[in-house]
């Protein structure tokens, strides 16, 4: 009976960890996508200093979230986000609007793909 209890507890822990992983990933992707949209809006409105401040905030937030996400998600492109966020700062300074928007779109795409890669739907299971 002791082994059964240990097994049930282990399974509960695994299910709990899995649920935490899914919820954390979903929230992180939503929050970061929202943040990027705000950066895009600030930049297109010509508010460069606000955009820069938001990029710095985004970079910090991503660093924190990446520490947890990398524990349970294996998605090779996640590493690209850090590089692209660093590039955003330079693109804002140089006022390269086209490149800037393409890079923000790229980050959003990676985040959406990583969530799509992680969610336990029929496509991913099979």
């Amino acid at each position: 009976m002791k082994r059964v209890i240990i097994s049930i507890c282990s399974l509960a822990l695994v299910i709990g960890l899995s649920c935490f992983g899914i919820v954390y990933m979903k929230n992180a992707c939503d929050e970061l996508c929202e943040e990027i949209e705000e950066i895009e809006a600030a930049y297109t409105e010509g508010n460069v200093s606000d955009a820069e401040a938001r990029i710095a905030k985004l970079e910090k937030e991503w660093e924190e979230k990446d520490k947890i996400i990398s524990k349970f998600v294996r998605y090779d492109r996640l590493g690209e986000i850090s590089d692209t966020v660093t590039q955003l700062k330079i693109l804002v300074k140089n006022e390269e609007k086209g490149d800037f928007l393409s890079q923000t779109a790229k980050i959003k795409k990676i985040l959406e793909d990583s969530w799509a890669h992680e969610k336990p739907d029929i496509k991913n299971i099979f």
Binding site: V4, I6, S7, I8, S10, L11, V73
Partner: protein, 231 residues
Amino acid sequence: MATIFIRSLIVYFLIAFALRVMGKRQLGEMQPSELAVTILISNIATLPMEDTSIPFLSGVIPIVSLAAFEVIMSYCTLKNKTFRKIIIGSPVVIIKNGKIDQEKLKELRINADDLLTQLRCKEVFDISEVEFAAIETTGELSVYKKYISREVTAGMLEIPDKPAENDPQIAIISDGAIIEDGLALCNKKREWLDGVLKKENESVKDVLLMTCNKSENYVIIKNELKKGAGR
């Protein structure tokens, strides 16, 4: 490199723990589901050890899940007969009243040579000696010989039982150290052991193994590397 080393250590302890939780059955004859789980665990364990780009949890979660699931399934098969039949199956009788059931042999895809090999492993060299044989769920053959072919037992010869003399031998000294639990199982005290060793002109540290039963029948195997003595 250090990451791989640390991961290997963690995986080692995790698998040792998983096998411990799954129980001793896992180390002996395995049921089909147990075999599948053991193979899966050994394969999964290598992935996070070799590839550091894989999150460690991706390797840990399947190992823990499979071990836990196996224990829960074992518990369910213990409690529910139908479930047991589905998961483990049931033994198949292939020789009944000395006659081979060829249909069953065909169903199990066992040929005559395989059957003879398994019978020989059970020390049966003449198929006519077999009264009944079944393939167990583990794939092992169980054989019940005809009365005339069975080994003679004390019961057949109506020899009275001597329970005291039949007590199993229990180790009471191993590698020069006294096993207190063994002494207690034999209902013996330290004084008795000291007396025996004195009579045999031995000391505890010079004994490789000493076994004894409740009837004070004992065997002493001296440590030949220390004294060069025999039994």
